[in-house]
Amino acid sequence: MSEPTQRSDSFEPRIVAFFCNWCTYTAADLAGTARMTYAPNARVVRVMCSGRLDPQFILAALRNGADGVLIGGCHPGDCHYQEGNYKALRRFILLKRMLASFGIEEERVRLEWIAASEGEKVQRVINEMTDTIRRLGPLRLEPLPAEAAEGHGQKVAVHGGAV
């Protein structure tokens, strides 16, 4: 494994962006095709639908070193899979409340509906979020011992069954 590169004095936030294949990922492609430059801080993980987003993924991103998480899905009513984005929203509403209880700044985890045609919105949201998180500073979660970071201490998902 290579060493993480050193962060320079000016803090560069690391954002994990979960984009749905049909709307937001396509919009990000469009932003590229249109050569809209924007902050390099967001790294996209493609899922087929925002409904695939398990809150575990968002927390895993934060645990692994993301300073922010952006979720991009189709606008309400526009989901390629009819209602996946509503399911994503149900989880997000509760997750947001939970993150607030954890004391994590609200701005670090953001949900945006971005349609396939809204390349400009991808650009704007990523720029905004990068600026906001740069102001907030890095998310310095208390480190876990490396092994435990894999999960609940059960190092490997061994399916022991009843003993």
Binding site: S2, T5, W22, R43, R52, E118
Partner: protein, 667 residues
């Protein structure tokens, strides 16, 4: 962590190929650094760069390494997977590899094209490569499933695009359902008198096609009908079509029009939609003499029987075929089709939105569509250009770009207005001898014979004034302006503000998406561009496809288009649909959800979440069951499964967790 599949010798061997894409990628990203970095990643056995990975020699690099056993799974860092994932998967399959042991890192659309700074772009590219490498190690070899395709087609919209697509498909022997919401097919084209630049008569070229549609044994034509609901998927759609009652039996009506004559309303009293309100019709009517099908319609909103219950029903009395049926009810038809072509067209810009042009205020300000009806021999004036006072205009101003190329309304160019304005200028000049003034921003006449037509108009002494019109008003400054409308515009070629008094103003309105385009696209599960036009899968490479497989686009619903382009696109959509149907089957992405029964506790959390009812519950086994043919692979159930028993192929928890770790941890 070493749970790896399909690597025969236990350890996975990942090949990483970083594409330059000419200078598209290499101009911003230090590709060599990315390759060197990739070499340091676990499980990577080959890492190299190449100018164009998607080219044959690029693909051969991968194939050779696969054949030589140097690698068993592949990461290509290049463009978007939406662009070339199929290309590389095919390349892998072609040499015996499993195409799903593959992952793309999008370092072009998501990195080099949106980044100018080399350092950060290279770092970001490394992160995406690291994520792809970490993830691909967990990929499993998968198989695409094949499902048979229903060979029938649904075409929505009976304008020239829908008509042409329907005839093409029907001629190829496919059964076509053509659904049109108006009482007749023909669309906008049926309203035009002449078509540019040839000035051939619109009806002469359109109506034969309309009758062909009616007579074609392979076409089921449903007018006055709308698609209410769509379900299913490519190759196997189920559509419910709502047929509104015409109160006239289509099977019995022979189009003699006696009923219209016999109506208790002796004269037309209600705005005639087909003539855009320039004439009046009766409650029972046909939109125009060549309407197809030629069947009378009763409008219950205006019919005395429906409004009051008191009517002598003279229409029914006079009908020898007993075709009038006041008890006709709405009908829902359910059909199964393999492909759908949307050809739902456009609407014209509402000119009253630009108050300073006086539409709706001055009766002699017309929209171009109204003038199309005025110049039409079958129109309300029999083709004479007459003002409301019955006079012919002596001077006519045509205002271009109304609702187009304007930040306040629509930014785009509507593409057809310059040419139809020229056509109208010609027709008005020809019919009235009037002086015709065109006020334009730029003349846009690309197209076969178009520039020549423009030349011809200039020789016909039609005036061209380059400048956007500021205002149309009846405020006279000089005696010559009294009783006239004055068009005020800056003539940018002369550099002076001009006032041109005219008797008639024609507003060349732009094209806009149908008012219900948004509802329609939701119904069909496709996307729209910002302006509201239906979005094609790729503007160059898949211009008639949508992001929903099996649904194609034709005509102006995708963006402003003239008739030749509509017909060309309709032909293309028909060809694409045919290609899909004639293959006989479609291959479905294997990114479906699956249950590991050992871990399923039967809690049923997943069951209600599936919008496709793909998850059922087996009560005897107490397990959830996923029907792979119905599952479309959104993964919503997987995210909810409280015990991780549900997973999604190509998007397992393990794959996504590793991708997350890759994007943040490695670089």
């Amino acid at each position: 962590m070493s749970a790896v599949n399909a690597s025969p010798n236990g350890t996975p061997k990942v090949g990483v190929y970083v594409c330059h894409c000419g200078i598209n990628i290499a101009g911003v990203i230090d590709v060599t650094k990315v390759v060197e970095f990739a070499k340091t990643l676990p499980n990577v056995t080959v890492a190299q760069e190449y100018k164009f990975m998607c080219s044959d020699p690029g693909q051969e690099l991968i194939q050779k390494d696969l054949k030589d056993g140097k690698i068993d799974r592949v990461v290509v860092a290049s463009c978007s997977p939406l662009m070339h994932e199929p290309t590389f998967r095919r390349a892998m399959a072609a040499c015996g590899g499993n195409p799903f042991l593959f992952q793309m890192a999008n370092i072009r659309e998501h990195v080099s094209w949106v980044n100018k700074e080399k350092g950060s772009a290279t770092e970001k590219a490394k992160a995406l490569v690291a994520a792809a490498v970490r993830r691909v190690v967990f990929h499993k070899p998968l198989q695409k499933t094949q499902v048979p395709v229903n060979s029938d087609v649904l075409i929505v919209g009976g304008g020239i695009s829908g008509i042409h697509a329907a005839l093409t498909m029907a001629d190829a022997g496919r059964k076509v359902y053509l659904v049109e919401r108006e009482p007749t097919i023909g669309g906008h084209m049926a309203k035009f008198d002449k078509t540019f630049p040839t000035l051939d008569c619109s009806a002469c070229i359109l109506t034969p096609k309309m009758s062909q549609v009616r007579a074609h044994p392979n076409i089921t034509l449903w007018t006055y009908s709308e698609v209410a609901e769509i379900e299913g998927y490519v190759g196997n759609f189920k559509a419910r079509v709502r047929r509104k009652p015409k109160y006239v039996d289509e099977g019995l009506c022979v189009g003699c029009l006696e009923c219209i004559e016999a109506c208790i309303f002796k004269k037309g009293k209600f705005k005639d939609e087909f003539n855009v309100g320039l004439s009046l019709r009766k409650p029972i009517y046909v939109p125009f003499p060549q309407a197809t099908p030629l069947v009378a319609v009763i409008d219950p909103e205006t019919c005395a029987f429906f409004r009051t219950g008191k009517c002598k029903q003279t229409c029914a009395e006079v009908c020898e075929r007993k075709a009038i049926d006041f008890n006709q009810k709405e009908e829902i038809k359910e059909i199964n089709v393999g492909a759908i072509i949307l050809a739902t067209g456009f609407k014209t810009f509402d000119a009253s939105r630009i108050a300073r042009y006086g539409y709706g205020k001055y009766p002699t300000v017309y929209t171009s569509l109204e003038v199309e009806r005025l110049v039409n021999a079958a129109g309300p004036t029999g083709g004479e250009v007459l003002l409301p006072n019955g006079q012919k205009p002596k001077a006519v101003g045509i205002v271009h770009c109304v609702g187009s190329r304007d930040e306040k309304t629509n930014r785009y160019c509507s593409r057809v207005c310059c040419m139809y304005s020229l056509k109208l200028a010609h027709l008005i000049h020809e019919r009235t001898g009037a002086e015709v003034y065109n006020f334009y921003i730029d003349m846009r006449t690309p197209g076969k014979g178009y520039e020549e037509f423009y030349d011809r108009l200039m020789k016909e002494n039609v005036h061209f004034i380059r400048g956007r019109v500021a205002e149309v008003s009846d405020w006279a400054m000089t005696p010559e302006e009294e009783g006239k409308l004055v068009i005020r515009a800056e003539d940018t070629l002369v550099g002076a503000v001009r006032r041109i008094p005219v008797d008639m103003v024609v507003l060349s309105v732009g094209l806009e998406p149908q008012p219900d385009a948004d509802e329609v696209r939701r119904r069909f599960n496709i996307s729209c561009s910002t302006e509201g036009w239906f979005l094609e899968r790729h503007p160059k490479l898949a211009p008639v496809s949508t992001f929903t497989d099996g649904i194609f686009l034709a005509g102006a619903c995708q963006g402003p288009k003239d008739i030749p382009d509509c017909v060309a696109q309709a032909g293309a959509a028909a060809a694409e649909a045919l290609a899909m149907i004639d293959r006989g089957h479609v291959e479905l992405e294997p990114n479906t959800a699956f249950v590991t029964e050992e871990f399923c506790s039967g809690c049923k959390t997943c069951v209600p979440l599936c919008p496709y009812s793909a998850i059922s519950f087996d009560t005897s086994k107490n397990k959830a069951v996923v029907n792979g043919a119905l599952c479309k692979g959104c993964g919503t159930c997987v995210a909810a499964c409280p015990s991780g028993a549900l997973q999604q192929n190509l998007f397992t928890d393990e794959e996504i967790f590793n991708e997350i770790e890759g994007v943040v941890k490695y670089v």
